[in-house]
Symmetry: C2
Subunit: 358 residues, 2 copies
DNA sequence: ATTACTATTGGAATCGATTCCAAACAATTT
DNA sequence: AAATTGTTTGGAATCGATTCCAATAGTAAT
């Protein structure tokens, strides 16, 4: 029993180290010579604890290395500090990362953590995912899609605070945040106009999605506010891929009075447009200016010349969705009433990313 | 009290609907006229329950719409059916989605769900994330990086079953799954050789990462197995971006005896190589064949001609990591002993994606 | 008939926190 | 001195499952 531990001692020591016995609030209470209620009060910053006892309790917590068991807290308080995050499709889009990152960072700041399920467009899985989350008593739900579109999420979602991310319901019955497509289209066109272009082509998508319709509206609105005529011939619709951009550009170049600038529905189409323009021997941006949409770094930054484009605010939408959810949780804690005012339908601006194609 | 509900009745009805009272195992027991133990036994498929009582209990469960409260289960059993998923960087890489998708799908199949934290390379956050996860009694941890590299994860991680995804520790002390870079380099080079090329350039990365070293080794090994000479001049190292690929390709084209095919470290460099080749008036693949690495769809599929490349098995690694974790959990349930055999260091093959550049 | 065993069951104890109530005590007012 | 008020505290009850133990009934073996 000298300073050197015996064999048995060291084994015990080892076992203690390898499987640290869980320290509970009871242990703290005993160690500090107080009741469990007092420890809990200190832990949760409740009033009416004398400074001395608080100090004692804190010392005990420190000394024993106490860590709360979240399951017990959740059981008692019915709050898990978890936010359920449901995505329809996580893999195909490089934007997914930005959405998740924004949401995750905002959640962490609010002391919450994300529980993730990816449903790959499967409605059954979607339903099951929401149920699982509710079983786990998540504080709220985020339902995120990888491109801006209308959705009909499982009804059961309405049982708990929920926010739609990059999507919306037709009846606007759930809070939602999406990109401001109209403004994006407007600003893109405006940039081209302000750089002196008078005839501006628009190579649009054919899919009847909000982005397609609203960017078009933005394009028209910009022309109108600068008193430029709208020429039907300058708008072509093609499939949303490089080939579509290529074909569309060719059509525009074949016009008797071709445009000096073109706004492409997205960067992939712009990529195709680049090819068409160069194949015809024109230079970008001297002969023809090009602006895209999405700011897909991999394309936009790597094209030559670098593609000027509008960025989708994925990161910001992720943050907004979680922050709004957190604010809902706060208010629903105070008043037990459900918010009666209509849920916000927010649109976030798409910032311009200037490179060299305009 | 006729068939039409009174005002008060309908209010009560509404309240019941809007806030469904939680059905507990006690309610089931009462309803079915059995004890709580019996209900629990049915729920967990334990033996020694007579068929009739089981049927009764199941009927009660169905009738009352019972759903278990996960927090209570976790508290009692100390198993949360949650897997912690920690990433260093989720946003920049389009591959992130594939990794997460694979992991998530495998987890769902195993009845688990992912708790996600993204640490943005911040060691403090990393530590905090692991602690939070342990507090929440996750069953295990996945530590994922967005490119293949050595790491030193927080020590505390070793307290619970953990798997490294797309990374490894130098001492191989944790199970790990990474891409088989050597084989990837080998197969890429082999393809070029089998298509009849004798002089094959390699535009490598400059970063001293495993991919850089191992793909080079694979390149050399392939040459050797086909009895082709290794020519130092055919290997150039540049920054891993389109500009680097462009510059590297130019160097190779300027050789007195230029290669007829080139293996690029990744698709972005291949993109630059394309530009160089075309600028010199050569055709792909007739004059010079090109193969890349990564299969970044956005680039490889959209280049003209489509880029043949080696695909990183992100999706598969995600699956493997979770499945291995699940198997660890199973065995650690049976034997209480920690697995003493050395943790597996798995390498998954990179499949070839044939397009038109070879 | 007695013993030994198995199959089935009910219900108390348990997990680890929070919360509420009553008690103890101090300070203030009447 | 008694009554009132306010502060601080301990500890029982609670959340909703699982698990273990003891009890019962039924069957087989002695």
């Amino acid at each position: 029993m000298e300073s050197i531990p015996t064999g048995i001692d060291s084994i015990i020591y080892f076992r203690v180290m390898s499987k640290p016995t869980k320290v509970t609030i009871q242990d703290i209470a005993r160690f500090a010579g107080v009741g469990v209620g007092t420890v809990s009060r200190v832990l949760n910053g409740h009033p009416n604890v004398s400074p001395e006892t608080e100090a004692n309790v804190r010392k005990a917590i420190e000394a024993l290395g106490y860590r709360p068991v979240v399951a017990a807290q959740t059981l008692r308080t019915r709050r898990s500090n978890v936010i359920g995050f449901i995505t329809d499709e996580i893999a195909t889009s490089p934007h997914a990362g930005q959405i998740i990152r924004g949401a995750q960072e905002a959640a962490w700041k609010g002391g919450k953590i994300l529980l993730l399920v990816n449903t790959q467009w499967d409605p059954e899985l979607e339903q099951a995912a929401v149920e699982t989350m509710i079983d786990r008593q998540v504080d709220g739900l985020i339902y995120a899609t990888m491109y801006h579109r209308p959705v009909t999420p499982p009804e059961i979602m309405r049982q708990i605070p929920s926010v739609l991310l990059d999507c919306f319901t037709e009846d606007a019955s759930l809070p939602s945040v999406v990109p401001d497509e109209f403004n994006g289209g407007y600003e893109a066109t405006k940039l081209l106009i302000e750089r002196g272009h008078q005839r501006i082509g628009f190579i649009n998508n054919t899919d009847p999605i909000p982005a397609q319709r609203l960017r078009m509206k933005g394009y028209c609105a910009a022309l109108e506010s600068y008193d430029l005529p709208f020429d039907e011939a300058l708008v072509v619709e093609r499939k949303s891929e490089p080939k579509g951009g290529y074909d569309g550009m060719m059509v525009l170049l074949d016009l008797p009075d071709p445009p000096s600038a073109v706004f492409c529905f997205n960067d992939r189409m712009a990529m195709g447009a680049y090819d068409a323009i160069r194949q015809r021997g024109f230079r970008i941006p001297q002969d023809i200016a090009v602006i895209g949409f999405d700011n897909q770094e991999l394309i936009a930054a790597n094209l030559y010349p670098g593609l000027t484009t509008m960025q989708l605010p994925h990161y910001e939408m992720g943050i907004w969705a979680v922050e709004y959810l957190l604010s809902m949780l706060e208010t629903s804690e105070k008043d037990d009433f459900k918010q009666e005012c209509s849920p916000p339908q927010v649109q976030l601006k798409c910032p311009l990313v200037l490179r060299d194609s305009v």
